[in-house]
Structures are given as structure tokens and as C-alpha cells.
């Protein structure tokens, strides 16, 4: 093998990583006999290491690790030992639920149950799947994760700042939760799901209000195939300012 051919082969050779790659064996043997080739390979390695150092020196945002850990989905926060116990409990729960359903013939998938679920959720502890003030990035995240993303926000919500979103599930159907804060630091949550997810979804595009426990109020309406629930702590008058 001549020096020119060896250089072509060794052009992508990385001294630290590729030593055992058989494709370089003959060219590396040629290097032992050819001092000019050896110098060329050594210089290539110096340049390679310099580029590598540059790329490894890219600054990483300081809070990125904490963001990732904080935004971990809730369902995976269980410890390893608890998992089999929870799986058995889940099977029993499903069985009990099915039995109850069968006996009562009373499906829980109705709009009142859904509205109660979302307001209870935000009145307790919950995780955001993605934190951002950028509404388009939030939409993109939801789209990527197969959650409703083609929603239309009430125009008055543009006065608020977006905080992030979460992907949820209701009766096996995806739900998008978007979180906002207003100038008084009050939080608002918008839940979006397909109208078909809930049999008795509101039919009108005009919001109707409902008061809930812990001082929460919700407004619900249906438009463009989606059912929306906007909720916050306060009364209907305050909430109507964001519709």
C-alpha cells in the first residue's frame, strides 16, 4: 500500500477509538514503515482532537438538568420495588372498576366527571411535561407527543404569559393541559380534548360556567372539534375576562 492510498483510508481514523477497527489495519502497518505518513497521521490526530475539544466546549444551559428531572412524567415516579405491588393493585382496580361499571351500567365518562377531574388536578400537585413561555414551542411539544395541538386560544388569553403544558389522558383519549399566568400572578389552566372523547361534551361555542371545590371556577365550550375547559381560582366574572 502506498502513502497516498494509506492517507485516504486513515483520513477518518481516530487514534483513541478506531485502533481495533480491522479496516485500518493495513494502512496502520504501512505507517510503521513510512515516517512521513506517520507524521501526517499524528498531525491529523492533533487537528481532530482540537475540533473535538471545540465541540465538547459548547456551553450547556445551567438549569437544563433540573428542568429535565422536574418535567419527568408522573407515571414513572414510582420506585422499583413498588412496581409489582402497584401492577397487582392496578389489575384489581381495573377488575373492581369493570365490576362496578357492569353492575351500575353507569359510565363515569361524562363531562361533569371530566370537569371535576381537571379542576381537582390543578388544585393539587401536578407536573408540567414541558416548561416554556413560547406558545408555539408548547404547541409543537404537544403535537410531538400526540396530544391535541390544533386548538384555538381565546383571544383574551394573549394577555397572559404561557408557563408550559402537560399531556394527560381521559378515558384513553389524549388531553392537552396548558398553563398560563396573568399580570396578578394568578394561574389559569386550559384543557383541550377531542369533542368525541366525552359523550356529553358541551355543544355550544358559548362558554358555560361552573363553580367547583376550593374556590375553582371553570368555563367550558366546544369549537372546531375540541372541547375546552378553562379554569382558575376565582369567580365567573374574573374568568370571563380571559374568554
Amino acid at each position: 500500500m502506498n502513502s497516498r492510498d494509506a492517507k485516504q483510508i486513515l483520513w477518518i481514523y481516530r487514534a483513541g477509538t478506531d485502533r481495533d477497527e480491522p479496516q485500518f489495519a493495513d494502512a496502520l502497518s504501512a505507517m510503521v514503515r513510512d515516517s512521513e505518513l506517520r507524521r501526517w497521521v499524528e498531525q491529523q490526530d492533533v487537528v481532530f482532537q482540537a475540533v473535538r475539544r471545540k465541540l465538547s466546549g459548547i456551553d450547556v444551559p445551567r438549569d437544563l438538568r433540573e428542568k429535565i428531572v422536574r418535567q419527568r412524567p408522573i407515571e414513572h415516579s414510582t420506585t422499583q420495588w413498588l412496581r409489582p405491588v402497584l401492577q397487582i393493585a392496578a389489575v384489581l382496580l381495573v377488575f373492581a372498576s369493570l365490576t362496578t361499571f357492569w353492575l351500575r351500567s353507569h359510565p363515569k365518562n361524562n363531562f361533569a366527571a371530566y370537569e371535576g377531574y381537571v379542576t381537582r388536578l390543578v388544585s393539587g400537585k401536578y407536573h408540567m411535561s414541558y416548561e416554556s413561555n413560547d406558545r408555539e414551542r408548547i404547541r409543537l411539544f404537544l403535537e410531538r407527543n400526540q396530544a391535541p395541538a390544533q386548538y384555538a386560544l381565546p383571544p383574551a388569553l394573549t394577555r397572559t404569559t404561557a408557563l408550559g403544558c402537560a399531556t394527560l389522558s381521559w378515558s384513553g383519549n389524549p388531553v392537552s393541559m396548558l398553563c398560563f399566568t396573568d399580570a396578578q400572578q394568578r394561574k389559569l389552566w386550559l384543557f383541550v380534548t377531542s369533542r368525541d372523547s366525552i359523550p356529553d361534551s358541551p355543544r355550544k361555542a358559548t362558554p358555560s360556567f361552573e363553580q367547583h371545590a376550593k374556590g375553582f371556577v371553570s368555563a367550558s365550550w366546544t369549537a372546531n372539534g375540541y372541547t375546552y375547559v378553562l379554569t382558575m381560582q376565582g369567580d365567573a366574572q374574573v374568568l370571563s375576562e380571559y374568554l
Binding site: 477497527e21 482540537a50 465541540l55 437544563l64 429535565i68 412524567p73 414551542r137 409543537l140 403535537e143
Partner: protein, 172 residues
């Protein structure tokens, strides 16, 4: 299924490398942060399906790359410079020339190349992955990956040489 500790350890181990890989391809801090977060988010939901714990790193890079391609498709931004065929003439740059430019310039120069060359090249430089692992991560044949790395590297070195020549006090 990873425990809390496993997840946090995994994040600690790989989030920097994943972010740098993402930043090298997107040249945007926000996009790189999003892609890194999205990758771990998918891991938290689906990582338990991975049977071989040794391939976690490869899985994370593969996932991030797939998400990056999806991002490109969503933004319809699949444009870039076509690279010329590999020539016999291998470019030569002095090690000192590299010291004249910073990491952002290298990333900018990488950004001038088409994604099909950029991703293998970044993995080639940054990660101690074998060519087979790079090929598996990107889902392309081994020979294709090696060819893209060789051509991409030659192109990058020419861009670096041009950039340093244009800088005041750069090589002439």
C-alpha cells in the same frame, strides 16, 4: 423500568452530550434544550421497553436524532449545501488554525452542511462511538456513514481553513 435514581443518573450522565449534539445540529439553544428535554421525556415513558441496558446511550442519541428530523420536517427546513464528491486531494489545516476559532464558529460552519453529513460528523468528533454504532444511531448503512464522515470532514476542514484565512492574522 428505571427508578428515580436511575433516571436522574441517566440525565446526569448524558444530558450534556445530548445537548451538544443537538446544538451542533440546530445552532439554537432553545431547540437544543427542547430536543434534549424531549429525548428524556420519551425515555421516561418508553425507556422500559429497551431490553439491552448497554445500548441506552445509543438509544438516547437515536431518539434525539429522530426528534430533530421531525422538527426539521415540521419547519420544512430541509435545505443545505450539497457536498461535492470526495476528491483525492485531502485538505490540510494546521492545528494552530483551529485555535483561532471558537466552538460557536465550528458549530456555524457545521450548520452550512446538509444534515445528512452533519449528524454523523458530530457523532464522529464528539462521541466515542464506533462507526457501526454511529450507523445504528442514524439508521443508515455502515458504508454510507463512513463515506459521509469522510466527505463531511473534508468539507468541514475546508470551511475551517477559509474561516481562519478570513480572520485578521489568520493563515494566508
Amino acid at each position: 423500568m428505571p427508578s428515580d435514581l436511575d433516571f436522574e443518573n441517566l440525565v446526569t450522565l448524558y444530558y450534556r452530550d445530548l445537548y451538544r449534539f443537538a446544538f451542533s445540529m440546530t445552532r439554537s439553544e432553545s431547540d437544543a434544550s427542547d430536543l434534549t428535554q424531549q429525548t428524556f421525556y420519551i425515555w421516561a415513558r418508553k425507556g422500559d421497553r429497551l431490553r439491552d441496558p448497554a445500548s441506552v446511550k445509543s438509544w438516547l442519541f437515536t431518539t434525539l436524532h429522530r426528534e430533530f428530523l421531525q422538527l426539521l420536517r415540521q419547519r420544512s427546513r430541509f435545505s443545505g449545501e450539497e457536498l461535492s464528491e470526495m476528491t483525492d486531494e485531502l485538505p490540510s489545516i494546521a492545528p494552530e488554525a483551529i485555535n483561532q476559532i471558537d466552538a460557536r464558529t465550528v458549530v456555524q460552519l457545521l450548520g452550512q452542511m446538509e444534515e445528512t453529513f452533519r449528524a454523523p460528523l458530530v457523532l464522529y468528533f464528539m462521541e466515542d462511538l464506533s462507526y457501526k454504532e454511529i450507523a445504528e444511531t442514524l439508521g443508515v448503512p455502515l458504508g454510507t456513514v463512513q463515506s459521509r464522515i469522510a466527505r463531511g470532514k473534508a468539507h468541514l476542514y475546508r470551511l475551517i481553513a477559509d474561516a481562519t484565512e478570513k480572520k485578521p492574522g489568520g493563515a494566508s
